[in-house]
Subunit: 214 residues, 2 copies
Amino acid sequence: MTRKKSDITQETILKAAIKIFSEKGYSAATTSEIAKEAGVAEGTIFRYFSKKKDLLYQIAQKTIDLFSHHIAFSTLKEVLKENETKDAKVLLKALIMDRMILFEQYFPYIKIIFYEAQFHEDIQAMIDKKIIKKGFLLMQDVFTQRTLAGEFKAIAPNVATRSLLGMIVAMFLQKKFIPSHYFTNDLEEEIDIIIDIFLNGIRNTASGCISVDS
Amino acid sequence: MTRKKSDITQETILKAAIKIFSEKGYSAATTSEIAKEAGVAEGTIFRYFSKKKDLLYQIAQKTIDLFSHHIAFSTLKEVLKENETKDAKVLLKALIMDRMILFEQYFPYIKIIFYEAQFHEDIQAMIDKKIIKKGFLLMQDVFTQRTLAGEFKAIAPNVATRSLLGMIVAMFLQKKFIPSHYFTNDLEEEIDIIIDIFLNGIRNTASGCISVDS
DNA sequence: CCCAAAAGTGAGTACTTACTCATAAATATA
DNA sequence: TATATTTATGAGTAAGTACTCACTTTTGGG
């Protein structure tokens, strides 16, 4: 059995809305433009979404659920489990690569919900509860575990998580918005540098610390 | 001699616009609301700014100039010079505290221009040229200098700069938007942790490296 | 092929928006 | 005080805007 026509139309409209919202922002986007992008009459939109705001909320809901349940934490957990016993360097690389793919793939979605979260407290609360908190908890487990094992210092795991995230997001945004003259051409090389900073710092250990590599 | 009345009115309108823009975003903000906030008639706005967009551009221009010339780089340079010979820890702390104060003070301005940069390529170009590039160049000097002195590793200075910035911005945004349950109550303590991560990494040096503190 | 239900349409509506302009008020000049 | 200039006003306007609804088209089962 083929999918119901109404489902297809609804999805087409949602996709068009995501495109226009992420290009112009929610407020500057118009329903007529979304209709044009979707290839339907303007009235059709309102058969599926009672208000313009409903479009935004459904996009937010969908994106957050997507991240929360199916993709984000299942692959994240997998990556974490796969590399549980491996070196921190290997674990972090797998982790970051996994996150980069997600970011890249869902960039329009992410742009919309993170921007609109500013103005809609309910969206903000959803992101906080279903993405940030969960993600942080998972990461904190990793840090706590390796701290107990003596591999990591006893640094506040939330600060460590947020710092790593900050470095990655900064890289990603630079790649997206000002890719011109700041980057090494190789993404993996750059990630390696970030991991090295995160694990070992930028201070020259030769001067004050004798490194014993395995 | 007192200031011309027209200058005062113009500034009042600009301030009102900054408030409304940063609260609702440029598109969702209305000229009638800005007029109300400024305590003037709607028509008055258009005696000083021919279009609504002119408001945005003047705000952007003003903010970028402010950052570029007067406040940002003069104090940044001062901080750098003052701490030139001191320990990296001291330098970075002075640097971050200085940036935090700026961020805090001009948060509404920053919000507006960084958000609208997405949609206005000219604003994006201005930010890139007058803030990001200049700031990065200054920071890179610091890193290059200390790398040559053997204090820092030979890590790509742009990546190092961006990583440090990413960690700070991540902290700042968390402080602004989700201050509830992630933070140690003490900001300075948190900055110390970030600097420690940045300089020494989170890996436990005791296991593979013998630290020699001064 | 028929017809009822489902899906789609787009002109129309009530409202808001950025922006104008003739007029009024405030201020400066003499 | 009288007059010229600058500054401020807010009703008015044309151009959207989100959203409605009477109507048409499409779909699928008997």
